[in-house]
């Protein structure tokens, strides 16, 4: 049998890849990055970078960057809560997770965005748990009824109680890291076990252009030491916080990301790091950051190629939309991004469910997008040679007018070659009218209810659950907040 080709998108020529990376390294050498974290400045100075202690400007030589890249793992393996199912993040593997972090939820009944409550966040996790094409959860929705001092840890706490899937998350405060690490370690049964089987990825965003804030730098350092994967989320906006040409924006993306790699590696050699991002084109009329713009997707696909060239796992914010409701724009921006990201081999694609410039989540959209992801996974499987000869055997005994519907070959292969329609409409017109002219959004809404009703909490060792409660309550107390027990009961 001929090997199946994995369909692949590469936007940059090899020569352009090399020049972009080379200029990124030069940028770090010549202009440096601003690092607003004392500990990191000490580490960087110790590793031989040129540190100006007064300004926090750090110039990093290419030798140091190359040394750090050499110890950065090319593949990270995440494990589910149970520790049995493994997910390779690297190579051309693709895993989707909900876009994060939304501050509002699109309410289906009113078709308006509103603040999310803990109850919404619980539904969000339960729903994502049922969506098979979203391999990872994300702490993708922020509950307005949770005090902001513990919001980062609480969203992870709820998720770990309700879901088996690995998480994409992050800290809101420097103090948040410890309790969040403790929650993850409690699930695994220890920090060593967590290091061996990572359960969550922590996002850390540099501030463009070329700056690492205290919070995000600390997150990189803490995660590196704990063996928790960090996802570098460089997010330049073309013509605003990054150069306007795509190639030049990519140079900045490389420089910001590689400085993150260096911080991680000098904090903990061999630390798992993902070459990620949330860059965007900048709308020169509205001053907004369209995630659904084709140029944004081009930047994403291109930096994923750069990340692969650097032998790193990759991530991008794709498969999401700037539309405010589940309208055609929401569908086409999401589908285009999902397909391009997957073809580019982006390992972690954060986006499903997300609307309105990364600020809103929709349960209905999560369900619709899960269907998009299903199509994309089918696309990635490519076109295989199933039989040898390919078709001549099927045509044996050929007679004019023969139908393949009852041919054994059809029964043998159609379920492997073709995926079910899911929620998309494939009714003949009259049937569609008779069925009430239902839109995919209405069908998705019904599907959300059906899935939430069918959700069964994956079993969690009561002793672990007790530990999670204890850690969360302690984080609350340390932040001066009494997290009453009922709050700790995600039914």
């Amino acid at each position: 049998m001929i090997e199946t080709k994995r369909p692949k998108l590469e936007l940059l020529s090899n020569a352009l890849v090399e020049q972009i990376v080379d200029e990124g390294l030069t940028l770090l050498e010549r202009h440096g990055v601003l690092v607003e974290n004392k500990e990191a400045l000490g580490l960087l100075g110790g590793a031989g970078a040129g540190v100006d202690a007064g300004t926090g400007l750090v110039r990093i030589g290419r030798k140091l960057v190359e040394d750090c890249l050499a110890t950065t793992p090319a593949v990270i393996t995440l494990y589910d809560r149970d520790g049995t199912r493994a997910f390779a993040v690297g190579g051309d593997e693709v895993h989707f997770d909900p876009g994060s972090a939304a501050v509002t939820l699109l309410d289906h009944a009113t078709q308006s965005e509103r603040k999310a409550s803990s109850a919404d966040v619980i539904e969000f996790y339960k729903l994502v748990e049922t969506l098979e094409h979203l391999h990872f959860q994300s702490t993708g929705l922020i509950a307005a009824d949770v005090p902001s001092a513990v919001a980062d840890g609480f969203r992870l706490f709820l998720g770990l109680c309700l879901s088996e899937k690995p998480f994409v998350t992050g800290t809101f405060r420097v103090e948040g890291f410890g309790p969040m690490k403790d929650l993850l370690a409690a699930v695994r049964g220890g920090e060593k076990e967590l290091r061996a089987k990572p359960l969550a990825i922590f996002d850390a965003c540099p501030s463009p252009p070329l700056k690492w804030s205290n919070l995000t730098t600390q997150s990189l350092i803490d995660a590196a030491r704990a063996g928790i994967p960090s996802e570098l989320i460089s997010m330049g906006m073309t013509g605003a916080t990054a150069p306007t040409t795509i190639a030049a924006a990519l140079v900045q993306h490389v420089a910001e990301s590689l400085s993150g790699v260096v911080i991680c590696q000098i904090a903990g050699r061999g630390a798992p790091v993902i070459f990620g991002g949330s860059p965007s084109s900048f709308d020169m009329r509205k001053g907004t950051t369209p995630m659904g713009a084709i140029e944004t997707m081009m930047i994403d696909a291109a930096y994923a190629q750069l990340g692969k060239f650097l032998k790193m796992p990759t991530h991008a914010y794709m498969a999401l939309s700037d539309a405010k409701v589940n309208d055609p724009q929401a569908g086409f921006e999401t589908a285009l991004g999902a397909a391009l990201g997957a073809l580019a081999g982006v390992n972690v694609i954060s986006g499903p469910g997300m609307l309105d410039f990364e600020s809103s989540q929709s349960l209905e959209k999560l369900v619709i997008d899960d269907g998009i992801c299903a199509m994309v996974y089918r696309l990635l499987e490519g076109i295989a040679q199933r039989d040898d000869p390919i078709a001549l055997g099927v045509f044996e005994g050929f007679r004019p007018g023969m139908s393949f519907l009852t041919h054994p070959h059809t029964r043998q292969w159609y379920r492997k070659e073709h995926i079910p329609a899911g929620l998309v409409d494939r009714d003949p017109y009259e049937a569609w009218v008779t069925a009430g002219r239902t839109s995919i959004v209405d069908k998705a809404h019904a599907d959300v209810s059906r899935r939430l009703a069918a959700y069964a909490a994956p079993p969690l060792d009561p002793a672990v659950r007790k530990d999670l409660d204890r850690i969360m309550a302690a984080y609350g107390r340390a932040s001066g907040i009494d997290l009453a027990l009922p709050v700790l009961q995600p039914a």
């Binding site: 501050v103 603040k115 922020i142 916080t241 509205k286 907004t288 600020s359």
Partner: protein
């Protein structure tokens, strides 16, 4: 060069966003003793007004808009010392304190509004991003501003705009300042809900609004 030609060149420099020419023409006007009020009102202001029109009809985008605003600021900086001496207190707009509210580090939109207000003749005191609410009041009191503009990009930090109005009330200063709110999650409804004096959806509209309230 006859005066009408000079005035036209000033306007053109602003429309073209030519900072160097705008500045040079202003310096030349000071040196040659032109009536600077006339220079502003018939040279530069028509230029920035034209820029506003080009923006509104969709020909100009943010890079053109802001480059023109910067050219205007540069020219005004050259004119101001002499203008203040000869026409004290004729600054067209008034004093505005502006900043992004505490907890929010997004300042692109706020910078656009600050630039356009400045180009529109206001004296602008930009406090930057992540600004404590008390700081807005301190600065406004200190410089004698009449208007305070609060920017917020996040729905979470937007709440600070509401708190600011309450803070002004508590201090018995609500009537003293016009408060304008802006940023992605803000809206006219929001401004009304929290009792602000106005909301504008973009930098050009913000200048129009500020002028109508000043």
């Amino acid at each position: 060069m006859i005066k009408t030609e000079i005035l036209a060149k000033m306007s053109e420099a602003i429309v073209a966003g030519d900072r160097v020419a705008a500045r040079a023409l202003a310096e030349e006007a000071v040196r040659s003793g032109l009536d600077l009020l006339e220079v502003v009102e018939q040279g530069y202001v028509p230029g920035i007004q034209r820029v506003g029109e080009l923006w509104e009809q969709g020909d100009y985008f943010l890079p053109e808009l802001i480059t023109s605003a910067e050219a205007m600021k540069s020219a005004m900086a050259a004119l101001e010392p002499e203008l203040n001496r000869t026409h004290a207190g004729t600054r067209m707009g008034g004093k505005v304190v502006i900043g992004t509210v505490e907890g929010d580090i997004h300042d692109i939109g706020k910078n656009l509004v600050a630039s356009m207000l400045q180009a529109g003749g206001f004296e602008v005191f930009d406090l930057g991003a992540d600004v404590k609410l008390e700081r807005f009041i301190e600065k406004a009191e200190e410089v004698g501003a009449g208007m305070i503009c609060l920017s917020a990009l996040l729905t979470t930090t937007m709440m600070a705009q509401r708190r600011f109005i309450a803070l002004l009330r508590d201090k018995g200063l609500r009537g003293k300042y016009k408060v304008l709110v802006g940023g992605a999650p803000a809206s006219r409804t929001w401004a009304e809900e929290i009792g602000a004096d106005g909301y504008a959806e973009n930098a050009v509209a913000a200048v129009r609004l500020a002028k109508s309230l000043a």
